[in-house]
Symmetry: C2
Subunit: 244 residues, 2 copies
């Protein structure tokens, strides 16, 4: 087993740099922290190296033993982490388009991660992220997915062309909007649907609202304000895969 | 207008101490940050003092002008805040018990704040927090409510006695649980309902699950994992006040 004890080691420096989106995109690598995420990543077969300061069961993946100080330096977490996985990004592969989630400009990594986790729970086939949404491989996003990112293709792409393409494929595109005139209860589930959840403050962009086949309002009783992940969760539950 | 320029001023020190729960509870005061929350707090009539490093419109509430350095010291926020309100806690007063939310051991301030915000949006009458849930007046909780905490009574109390009392009042108490055998679709809305959302890892405590009138399962298609605020949001939408 390889052992690294110096904070100045070039590998340590490379791993620390994976906290920057630019370096992640260039290396096609990202970090995951903690046992639960490591298990999910191992099951998905995308772990290249396991970094740890403890004994660690044999998994077939190379292990590098480091000091507590190095773990602290690599980890993005405030509480102590004892295992970190260096993972390889994979080309997401969409196999089905019957239920899709589209995130338009979401800024909060916790919201993005939670929405991906919810999408998997309700049998969705894929998630699209607009170019101005926060990064999938941000450590907070990954933590909020609770590992769900390994179970669903997540694709970053421009939304205008995407919506046009989906509509040609027979997918009904539905944008949530506070001022929409059609209530969610009045839109029945159909074969192929995509749901757009918008920016935490501005909501879904005007262009995508115009292009969408339907604008949907989640019925409320007052205050007229929902967190983006909650609004997305309510829609995905209503139109979950088994609702068809 | 009073002006404070010294970081050593005793009022500044008192305000900073309001970041600790113990000091908040003792003084019956808490801080809110930013214009949106200040507006909501002013509307609710609970602001005692406005602290600012900018010009500020007349509201009838005493204003204290401070330096940028003092604002930074008082604020719990990383980005610059230009207005802070010192608010007085009030005795929550429950007027109705037709829709209640009960939070059992929730640890994440973002989840608690989001659940309170969602409760207001779906016309709920009140929120109960178990003694081991995180504090309502934590700055992250307040921020996540988006001001909804001023629109709904939030009561911290032991849940076992609460559930007994609610049941005597004719309220049906429903606990969400992943392993429950009754699906949400099969539980119809009724006149008086209370919904228990549990700890992010452990879920609803065994005791409250036993005492509840129903254990409810949110139907899922895989992964079997929902964020607490999303699960609560889906339940509150389904049983929102206007669903009766």
């Amino acid at each position: 087993m390889e052992v690294i004890q110096s904070l100045q080691n070039s590998k340590v420096k490379e791993w620390v740099r994976l906290h920057n989106k630019k370096d992640r995109d260039q290396k096609k690598q990202f970090l995951i922290e903690g046992e639960h995420l490591l298990e999910e990543a191992l099951r998905a077969g995308c772990v290249e190296t396991i970094i740890t300061d403890e004994d660690c069961p044999e998994t077939g993946v190379p292990v590098i033993r480091v000091t507590e100080g190095i773990m602290k330096k690599i980890s993005g977490n405030v509480s102590a982490v004892h295992v970190i996985g260096v993972c390889r990004m994979r080309e997401p592969e969409l196999r089905n388009n019957s239920r899709l989630l589209i995130l338009d400009g979401l800024q909060d990594p916790g919201n993005v991660g939670t929405l991906i986790r919810t999408a998997v729970s309700f049998g969705f086939d894929g998630v699209y992220l607009s170019p101005d949404s926060c990064d999938l491989y941000n450590e907070k996003t990954i933590r909020s997915t609770q590992g769900a990112l390994f179970y669903i293709p997540v694709i970053r792409t421009g939304l205008s062309d995407l919506v046009t393409r989906l509509q040609k494929e027979g997918v009904t595109v539905i944008a949530s909007a506070l001022d929409a005139s059609v209530n969610m209860e009045d839109i029945a589930p159909c074969e192929k649907m995509a749901f757009v959840v918008g920016h935490e403050g501005r909501g879904v962009s005007k262009e995508i609202q115009r292009k969408a086949d339907q604008r949907l309002r989640i019925e409320m009783d007052g205050f007229e304000s929902l967190n983006a992940a909650v609004a997305g969760g309510i829609m995905m539950y209503r139109y979950r895969k088994s609702s068809k």
